[in-house]
């Protein structure tokens, strides 16, 4: 089990009456690529700034490699930051920018030169030493900012939306690059982003934040497959949510009856002891069938009418209105039907089926933060 690198304990940050970060508790492992994901204004930057030492928490504790750093100034923390706008020093050359941290530590000139050269090679910018920050592109500035932080070999690297200012193509390229560099240097990365795809691509674990608290924490797959709150279900990808009442449990599955009297099943471990839940299912997990077709044993099924079909190339997106009036989004891979030119047409009646294992459960009133939303 790797050591805990960064620990936040009941961290609160208030700006006047505004609670920016609300009792945040978090353990980040050594060498992990960890993301804070959430919409603008949810407190990601504030959290990162408290770890970096630029903001003092109103209450709570921040530990770095077991040491309490809550009240230490930034220059006494073994942490470096890649700022969103890069924050390169405009009056210094690229070389002096990258060498800035080493010089503060009194590293010898020859050693500085060796390490700056090595670092610029790592970020693929050799030969840029004598340029000024105004003479390089945004993507290059991004790499310089990364080199300037990494050269200090910090315990943790903090990145605040570092790719936000780049165009899409460059962003995709830098995502891969960042992940490569992180694996190469083996430093813990804490990455702030509002882009769920970016977080999913790069992270080992993600904390989804909303209004200053963590909604759900987990690896990308579990967050996508098993979102536990309505917010997470909606923020990561598209979800279909069907509200209903829990009727009973037969072993590993619970049955939930919806307002239109049809029922669906979901893993009972997810339902727990709740009475009112919403059953969720991702659009690509649903199969569309002829109403007369046989549903595979034990699969959920509801009937509906196709309202809209959009051909997207790799797949087709349907909007299907269930009998109870709920509108569900369904993705169907364009494997068989399109070659026979048989897309479902609006107005057609269809049967929607999916495996109960693909159902997830969202509880609308979040239980108080006692760690027991899913009692066994």
């Amino acid at each position: 089990m790797p050591a805990v690198d960064v620990r936040l304990l009941e961290v609160v940050k208030r700006f006047g009456d505004m609670v920016a970060v609300d009792r945040l508790t978090l353990d980040i492992q050594d060498g992990e690529f960890f993301s804070l994901l959430g919409p603008s204004g949810c407190g990601k930057t504030t959290t990162l700034r408290m770890i970096g030492g630029f903001e003092e928490p109103t209450s709570g504790l921040i530990e770095l490699q077991g040491e309490d750093v809550t009240w230490l100034p930034p220059f006494k923390r073994n942490v470096n930051t890649v700022f969103q706008n890069y924050a390169l020093f405009p009056h210094l050359t690229i070389y002096d920018n990258v060498a800035f941290g080493l010089r503060r530590k009194g590293v010898k000139d020859a050693e500085v030169k060796r390490r700056v050269t090595e670092m610029l090679e790592l970020v693929e910018l050799p030969g840029f030493e004598r340029r000024k920050p105004t003479q390089i592109s945004g993507g290059q500035a991004q790499r310089v900012a990364l080199a300037r932080a990494l050269i200090n070999r910090p315990a943790v690297l903090l990145l605040d939306e570092p790719l936000g200012a780049l165009d899409l193509k460059l962003r995709k390229q830098m995502q891969v690059e960042l992940k490569r560099i992180q694996q190469e240097v083996g430093i813990t990365f804490i990455y702030v982003t509002h882009d769920q795809e970016e977080a999913m691509t790069m992270s080992d674990r993600i904390a989804v934040m909303n209004q200053g608290h963590i909604e759900q924490l987990g690896d990308p797959e579990s967050l996508y497959e098993r979102p536990s709150t309505r917010f997470v279900a909606g923020f990561l990808g598209i979800s279909n949510l069907l509200p209903g009442a829990v009727e009973g449990t037969d072993g590993s599955y619970a049955t939930v009856r919806m307002a239109d009297t049809s029922s669906v099943r979901a893993p009972s471990a997810l339902v727990g002891s709740h009475a009112d839940v919403s059953i969720g299912v991702r659009p690509e997990k649903i199969r569309l069938r002829e109403p007369a077709d046989r549903t595979p044993d034990g699969h959920n099924q509801i009937t509906g009418v196709v309202r809209d079909a959009s051909y997207l190339g790799v797949s087709t997106q349907y909007v299907v209105e269930a009998r109870g009036g709920a509108r569900l989004t369904v993705y169907e891979q364009n494997v068989e039907r399109t070659t026979r030119a048989e897309l479902w047409a609006p107005g057609e009646e269809v049967l929607l089926t999916w495996s109960p294992d693909h159902s997830f459960v969202v509880v609308d009133q979040p239980t108080p933060a006692v760690d027991g939303s899913t009692p066994a």
């Binding site: 970096g52 930051t81 924050a87 800035f100 003479q135």
Partner: protein, 319 residues
């Protein structure tokens, strides 16, 4: 309604023709009007200076250098050849230098604290800093005189042995530092307003404490503002007449000397010294322009060289 389609094209044509004519006038104005206007404005600004330079080579028929007599280098050969003129100029320079250094240092610190700290009395300070600029100079001069003279009356005179603020160079200095601080604060504060604070955070993030951050990042970035403030302070001080006249006692600065002498003569030496100041100022500006241009050219060349180097390196790598 049927008339609309017929009328509309006609209107459109008229509109276009008008626009065309307007455009032509505008273009003609841009080509001829703007340069002419600019030349006239520059000429207007330069006339007094040209007159000053010309009359520094004059041998006036009387005691006043108002009427052209004949060309002469006499005044240039002996620029300080009037009683106390050299002393007055020296006093001016000393006062301007010291008041610039002190006011720039203090004013910069005030501007820094005003822009980055919240403290009690901050808005009051902002207001007080503005007062010396808003108050008529003559009022300021008169009240300074009142204050300085007040300190020479009882009980202060006995208490200090009369050493408190006798009028002279020291009182001129106090007055000049006072009004210069205001101008420095305003100039540096303007520069600080848009200061990218995240650069300081970046420096601290990289291990620089407050002191190092100031000298390695903040100071180099606001230095142009500080230099501009210093230049402004220097020229305001060397220029000042009204406040100096009130606070100088028997001491004379150059403007005070000119004012004193003008009652019975106006020697061409005044024009000579004016011309010298003008030449030095223009020389400094020219030097600055040349140095900036050279630095930019060097940065550009480096960027090009490095780009070429990088291309070559890429070509050299075997695929």
């Amino acid at each position: 309604m049927s008339a609309t389609p017929e009328v509309a094209p006609g209107l459109a044509v008229t509109a276009r023709r008008t626009a065309g004519r307007g455009g032509g006038v505008l273009r003609a104005f841009e080509r001829w009007g703007v340069p002419l206007f600019t030349a006239a404005a520059i000429f207007y600004l330069l006339i007094p200076i040209l007159v000053m330079i010309a009359f520094s080579f004059n041998d006036p028929p009387g005691r006043f250098n108002f009427v052209w007599g004949e060309f002469s280098l006499a005044a240039w050969g002996n620029p300080f050849g009037r009683p106390r003129l050299g002393d007055a100029l020296a006093t001016s320079l000393v006062v301007a230098f010291i008041s610039t250094v002190v006011a720039t240092a203090l004013g910069t610190l005030i501007a820094l604290s005003l822009t980055r700290y919240q403290f009690r009395g901050r808005s009051a300070t902002n207001l007080f800093v503005f007062i010396p600029m808003a108050t008529p100079e003559i009022v300021l001069g008169a009240s300074l005189l009142t204050m300085f003279v007040g300190t020479a009356t009882e009980p202060w005179r006995t208490l200090t042995g009369g050493a408190l603020f006798p009028l002279g160079t020291q009182t001129i200095l106090i007055a000049h530092i006072m009004f210069n601080i205001s101008y420095v604060v305003v100039t540096v504060r303007a520069r600080m307003q848009g200061f990218p604070r995240h650069l300081e955070e970046a420096a601290m993030d990289l291990g620089a404490n407050g002191w190092t951050t100031f000298w390695k990042v903040t100071f180099p970035l606001i230095l142009p503002g500080i230099l501009a403030a210093g230049l402004l302070a220097f020229s305001l001080s060397i220029d000042d007449f009204i406040i100096t006249q009130f606070t100088s006692g028997t001491e004379q600065t150059f403007p005070v000397w000119v004012w004193a002498s003008i009652r019975n003569n106006l020697p061409p030496q005044i024009h000579v010294i004016g011309t010298m100041v003008f030449v030095v100022a223009v020389g400094l500006v020219a030097l600055n322009t040349i140095l900036t241009g050279r630095r930019e050219a060097r940065d550009r060349r480096i960027a090009q060289e490095e780009a070429a180097g990088a291309r070559k390196a890429r070509l050299a790598v075997p695929e």
